[in-house]
Symmetry: C2
Subunit: 265 residues, 2 copies
């Protein structure tokens, strides 16, 4: 069977993959994996190779964008090829091009989905999924941008929550911290003075979503600035209007102070 | 071990669950499952019980909201209890209450995530995740509402895409079709005349996201009105501004006509 199957690895470790995804991998002629679009803290390639009984070839960003795409397409023209991707395969957009190229060259493609970091964070928070607006990534300070602030502002206009993914360099093991992200937002506030992210704004920091011991802390920004969230990866939610059930969830799951009760609308 | 573990079943069939989720289920003293918040077309309870080597007790909406919540909490106070939920456990908000009650009563809870229908649809479409605005559900005609139209309008103001989940009654096997949803949106357009969803608006219908044979069709609304998408479940995306790479994806994966090329911004 000549085809290219994109398989989501899900979250955290080598057992985040679906039972179906594992079966597809076990029956592949060639298996590739990329590990640069996000970070799976407890993933062990050695354990995973044992689990799927296959040799897994790692591909990096440069290889994939420059040449390895071809290497993967070549393999797919010769037999069943599985390409393993952390999370859900196309939530990161970098692999869409490979899939388009494959289809254009007559290689049929399929997707086996995995748990994505985005729905995991929303799911963990207890906030209502249909109340989230646009998602945004907060970059490292050297790539400073006002976009995250503007997206939060835009979402708040309609009472919507904003999920902020915090930038990371997975291969260098570098992660933007929740504290850094909040400081950056406060700096922009200082300049714009729109009252979007102030010391008294409610925020929710999330560390290690998808692992067995995620940390969630909801509080006013001033109280989160020096909070310790433990090891990465990190993300941040800046809520819009809160329903009382959402406040109850933040109190129960995210150590929110009881005074949050007066915030609900 | 006394605890309540919420395990996502992922998508489509009994192998959508993660390897970790399956292990948790295998080691549970009691296993419950709900099957009313969404539809897994190829799921077989019999096959799943064989796979996890456990008896699985089904709970319906009424039981869960009225009494079965208690039944599950009782079990969790006596031993390790797994509650299986289609997709990712809390993307449907109905189970948050059960988790809050558990924590309040001193029962510790954990989540093992699964692939969610929301990220699966976005992933399949090839559209950019960070360009989606608020998600909305289109109700059955008897619950007619202008909200979906208004959410699409609001998202389009910022050039954002709208994911429309189409309502379903999973236990009665009833599904709002893509054609019905589009007709409802056109009726509201007829009245409001804001040019948000017209015969010439671009839309993308998706059937059976997460299965081995999803159907995706991107076209102008007038050409989708009588399209056959095959068996359910269904969803609909009304795109905002399209990047040329997104147009390429719609042409490659969703049968979009080549004239879509002139739409990209």
């Amino acid at each position: 069977m000549k085809e290219l199957v994109f398989v989501g690895l899900g979250l955290n470790d080598d057992k985040g993959i679906s039972v179906k995804g594992l079966e597809e991998t076990k029956t592949a002629d060639t298996v590739f994996m990329e590990n640069y679009t996000s970070r799976m803290p407890d993933f062990s390639l050695q354990r995973f190779e044992k689990l799927c009984n296959r040799k897994v070839q790692l591909v990096g960003r440069r290889e994939l964008e420059e040449e390895s795409g071809n290497q993967i397409l070549q393999a797919a023209k010769n037999g069943k090829t599985v390409f393993l991707v952390p999370g859900d395969p196309f939530i990161a957009t970098t692999h869409v091009t490979l899939r388009i190229d494959a289809e254009k060259q007559g290689v049929s493609t399929r997707i086996v989905h995995g748990a994505s970091i985005i729905s995991a964070i929303i799911s963990l928070s207890g906030l209502h999924n249909y109340k989230f607006g646009k998602t945004v990534t907060v970059p490292f300070p050297e790539n400073f941008s006002e976009t995250p602030y503007n997206v939060i502002s835009q979402n708040k206009t309609y009472g919507l929550h904003t999920l902020c993914l915090l930038d990371l360099k997975a291969t260098e093991n570098e992660f933007l911290s929740i504290n850094q992200a909040l400081k950056m937002l406060l700096e922009i506030e200082e300049k714009n003075k729109k009252g979007i992210v102030t010391a008294d704004t409610v925020a929710l920091g999330v560390a290690r979503a998808g692992s067995d011991n995620p940390t969630l802390k909801a509080n006013f920004v001033k109280n989160l600035l020096n909070s310790d969230f433990g090891p990465p990866p990190y993300s941040l939610i800046v809520p819009g209007d809160l329903h009382f059930m959402e406040v109850d969830a933040l109190i129960a799951f995210a150590e929110a102070p009881l005074e949050f009760r007066r915030l609900s609308k």
